[in-house]
């Protein structure tokens, strides 16, 4: 019988524990990981990145209500998210804008208006068909 390699069990156990600790830390879990299947499934469960949402206007918008309804339709109450311009607005590509969206008729925030904040308004006529906006990740829960 030939032996390819002798393995120190204590050393191997220590090494696997350190790998498992790293996987748990990255995956945000404290669960025991059985080798190898547990390691594999834990690595596969680690999120690979954030979701990037993208929306393209197909019409010129007349006001901020339309802009909000077009970009983030169906929001039932109040949301905020980090938006940025992808294309369309001359000189603004890649710049970030804040967004505050209020459901029409909800008087809890700002008198029930729908609007954007941080220096952007559809009133300046820059929200045009073909403009594309992006935002990162899931929209947060209700405030």
């Amino acid at each position: 019988m030939a032996l390819d390699m002798l393995v120190d069990a204590t050393q191997l156990d220590s090494a696997l524990s350190s790998v498992a600790d790293a996987i748990r830390a990255k995956g945000g879990t404290s669960a025991q990981l059985a080798f190898p299947a547990g390691f594999v499934s834990a690595v596969q469960a680690i999120p690979t990145g954030v979701t990037v949402n993208e929306v393209t206007l197909t019409a010129d918008v007349a006001n901020t209500n339309e802009l909000c309804a077009a970009i983030m339709p169906g929001l039932p109450r109040y949301q905020r998210a980090v938006f940025w311009y992808k294309t369309g607005q001359s000189g603004l590509q890649g710049r970030i804008m804040g967004a505050y969206v209020y459901k029409s008729g909800d008087t809890s925030y700002g008198g029930g208006r729908t609007r954007y904040s941080y220096g952007y308004s559809a009133n300046d006529g820059t929200a045009k068909a073909g403009d594309t906006y992006c935002w990162i990740g899931d929209l947060p829960a209700w405030n």
Partner: protein, 84 residues
């Protein structure tokens, strides 16, 4: 994760299409069809805009609505970024 496509409808017109959260879910084929149709949008005319009809994807000309008026408080909140 499978990519989700959606469209935003206002009064029977498609105002936007997107990938991710929001709106009414559509197929990738419909998403592509709407963007292809967008590339065929008629030329702009002063005081008017073109709206894409949901379902037929036909272009419909509409007089540009007046922009919304804002009061002083809202103007201040837009400038400062403080909205509550």
């Amino acid at each position: 994760m499978e990519l989700r496509y959606f469209k935003s409808i206002i009064d029977g017109h498609i105002f936007a299409v997107g990938k991710g959260q929001g709106g009414e879910e559509i197929t990738e084929d419909e998403y592509d069809a709407i963007l292809s149709r967008l590339a065929e949008k008629p030329a702009d005319e002063e005081g008017y805009r073109w709206l894409m009809v949901d379902g037929t994807l036909e272009w419909e000309r509409q007089e540009m609505p007046h922009t919304n008026e804002i009061d002083a408080d809202e103007a201040l909140s837009i400038i400062t970024g403080v909205s509550e």
